[in-house]
């Protein structure tokens, strides 16, 4: 879903947080929660309100893996690719799923329903392999379980 810019909402997000010490990350998280990404308009507004240059705000947004410049699909599946999950065969499971969906890492299905992303550790390493679907965690995912998880939202 494309984001619809709402400058009043964005102003409110900043106003609620500008008194914090180091308000940048809390503002960016709130912007992304509201708009699904960090729109260009938000970067201009944050720069103005926090008395920074657009380059400085852009620098922060582009540094962190979490912040998106365009919205993700309706559902987001994060597959762990770190060592503990690798030791339990996560790479082969992920390759199988991505092949089945015809996607590469970070890509979204053509109907916009599902984005598959890499994540480096969800802290569930004794129940590997792991994934997070729309904020819900799932463990002990063999190839079949992973595929049925993805199919739930497709």
């Amino acid at each position: 879903m494309p984001h619809i810019w709402d400058s009043l909402a964005a102003e409110d997000i900043i106003t609620a947080r500008e008194a914090l010490e180091g308000p940048m990350l809390p503002i960016l998280h709130a912007m992304q929660a509201h708009f699904g990404c960090i729109p260009e308009e938000a970067i201009r507004l944050i720069a103005t309100r926090l008395n920074l240059t657009r380059a400085e705000v852009h620098g922060v947004v582009s540094f962190y893996h979490d912040f998106r410049r365009a919205p993700a699909g309706r559902h987001v599946l994060k597959l762990c690719r770190a060592e503990a999950c690798q030791s339990m065969g996560s790479e082969a499971n992920a390759a199988h799923l991505l092949h089945r969906l015809g996607l590469g890492w970070g890509e979204t299905t053509p109907d916009g329903r599902l984005t598959v992303e890499a994540v480096y550790c969800l802290g569930l390493c004794a129940c590997a392999p792991n994934a997070m679907l729309d904020g819900e965690v799932h463990g002990r995912l063999d190839a079949g379980a992973l595929e049925s998880l993805a199919m739930e939202v497709l």
Binding site: G22, L25, F63, M88, C121, G123, L124, C125, A128
Partner: protein
């Protein structure tokens, strides 16, 4: 009857909520009166969801419970501790649990994490009360005497850091908790935030009173949404109870505490990058000196400690430094919550005094690999830690002993691999991960990691293998000694240990065998 079901994220990941809901509806259907208490996890993750029932003789466990088991559990009268095929016996007698020294994690998995009365009933806030009685200088002396060293990985003595901040003169000082637990194979911080958050709050409050800080931040990675929620709830409860905010526990100290959420950058687990991130900047590493203890958050004196270090403080203050220092060996005093993960039969959190060997942890406690195949390698200390072959399993778990074998204990993670692992692939992954996560400030890390991936690819493809192996070793030396922080500086550990202990995987002939 009280039934305990974990709400720890790892338990939820394997269906704890569904099991809890099934137990509630089955109890209603049968007219059985039950009180469900949602706890943290005991850390025996191969048994999750682990349902526990209070009986006169202790808590009876039922492991790996699925929704389908629920009617059978009621038939077996599990609410009175009746026998069922999923019975584990008394939970505290399970060998994995009985062999531990649970000091820092004493309450984790036992109580409702947001039940302040339950926390206090088990000694909670006795440590802060004693610290307030002792006064700042004595509190710091106690932490020094305990021998506690930073549990994030660097192992710096916590008391000395606190002393530096205590004696620094500034109008504002800060307490910062590093809960950016990014190492694969580690989950101690997450478990504690979800299972016993008041311990962290109490530990940070003791630190604040000891060094004269009035503000604190807990920097939690965004990959831990459950921990963030529990921590925020616990802070609100502590504020209402007068345990945070103005005049903590009626003392002269004020302490405001806030959770801040990271944004998916592994390097922010490095303390100076974390401070930059808290300030709202790119998470780029700062050159040291100045040290954060003197010029930390917003340039002010700051205690930055790992979460486990803070969470250990209440025990030390409550029971005394000697009670803690009695555990351990050499210069590694106390206990370490070792996290056994990956391809292992009994994975989980095992808090134990330093000195146990790596082999005991992997084979006896962990029970060997989950697949039943021979264990081939164990990565100790996260993505920046060395791979140990079984030949080195006699290494005692101790900061110095691991360093002497070109490894590190880091934040206490162990990731077990069976014999299907391709160590050249793991070495390549270490370099690729460093390239992915490098903050870009220093050249050895930013450029070296990418060149490392390329050279390992050449070795595996058989292009001038010998020269390229020499080149990778040389590159590792440059990264080790030329990088600003542990990301570039320690990435050589997994790479060199893989090359040293598993050279056969780097031979071009290994390719067909490794292609599983």
């Amino acid at each position: 009857m009280r039934v305990f079901i974990p709400r720890d994220a790892a338990a939820l990941a394997v269906g704890a909520d569904r099991v809890a809901a099934a137990i509630v509806s089955e109890a209603q259907a049968r007219g059985v009166a039950l009180e469900i208490v949602r706890t943290g996890s005991r850390g025996m993750f191969w048994l999750e969801p682990l349902v526990e029932v209070e009986t006169p003789g202790g808590r009876m466990g039922y492991g790996k419970v699925g929704v389908r088991d629920v009617p059978g559990l009621f038939d077996a009268d599990f609410q009175s501790g009746g026998w069922h095929e999923k019975s584990t016996g008394m939970v505290e007698k399970i060998p994995f649990f009985a062999k531990q020294d649970r000091l820092t994690f004493a309450r984790c998995g036992v109580i409702d994490p947001l039940d302040l009365d339950a926390y206090r009933a088990l000694g909670g806030y006795d440590g802060l009360a004693r610290a307030l009685q002792l006064g700042a200088a004595q509190t710091v002396a106690e932490v020094k005497a305990s021998g506690l060293r930073g549990r994030g990985g660097a192992g710096f003595p916590t008391g000395i850091k606190w002393e530096t901040v205590r004696t620094a003169v500034a109008a504002q000082k800060y307490i910062v908790c590093n809960a950016d637990e990014g190492d694969s194979g580690t989950f101690a911080d997450r478990m504690l935030m979800e299972g016993d958050p008041f311990t962290l709050i109490e530990g940070m409050t003791i630190a604040a009173a000891a060094v004269g800080a009035t503000r604190g931040y807990i920097y939690v990675r965004s990959e831990y949404p459950h921990a963030i929620r529990t921590m925020n709830d616990a802070i609100a409860i502590a504020c209402r109870a007068g345990l945070l905010g103005r005049a903590v526990m009626g003392s002269a100290y004020d302490f405001e505490l806030e959770v801040r959420v990271g944004a998916g950058a592994y390097v922010c687990g490095e303390e100076t990058a974390l401070l930059e991130s808290l300030e709202g900047k790119r998470g780029q590493v700062r050159a040291k000196p100045p040290i954060p203890a003197l010029a930390g958050l917003f340039g002010k004196p700051t205690v930055v400690n790992n979460l486990v270090s803070f969470a250990t403080i209440p025990f030390i203050l409550e029971k005394g430094a000697a009670a803690y220092a009695d555990y351990g060996m050499g210069r590694s005093r106390g206990t370490m919550p070792v996290q056994i993960a990956g391809n292992v039969k009994h994975g989980g959190l095992f808090e134990v005094a330093f000195g146990i060997t790596l082999g005991e942890l992997v084979n006896e406690i962990g029970g060997g690999s989950a697949t039943g195949r021979p264990v081939r390698a164990v990565q100790a200390g996260g993505p920046l830690g060395a791979y140990f072959p079984p030949a080195l399993f006699d290494t005692p778990y101790d900061y110095e002993a691991f360093a002497a074998r070109d490894g590190l204990i880091g934040h206490g993670g162990l990731v077990v691999f069976d014999d299907s692992v391709d160590m050249a692939k793991m070495a390549r992954f270490a370099m690729a991960f460093c390239a992915h996560e490098s903050c870009g400030k220093c050249t050895p890390c930013r450029i070296g990691s990418t060149r490392g991936v390329e050279v390992i690819d050449k070795i595996v493809a058989g292009h001038a293998a010998e020269e390229n192996i020499a080149l990778v070793k040389d590159l590792c030396e440059t990264m080790k000694f030329g990088s600003l922080c542990a990301l570039g500086g320690f990435t050589p550990y997994p790479v060199l240990s893989a090359l040293h202990h598993f050279p056969e995987d780097f031979a071009p002939a290994a390719i067909p065998a490794a292609a599983q």
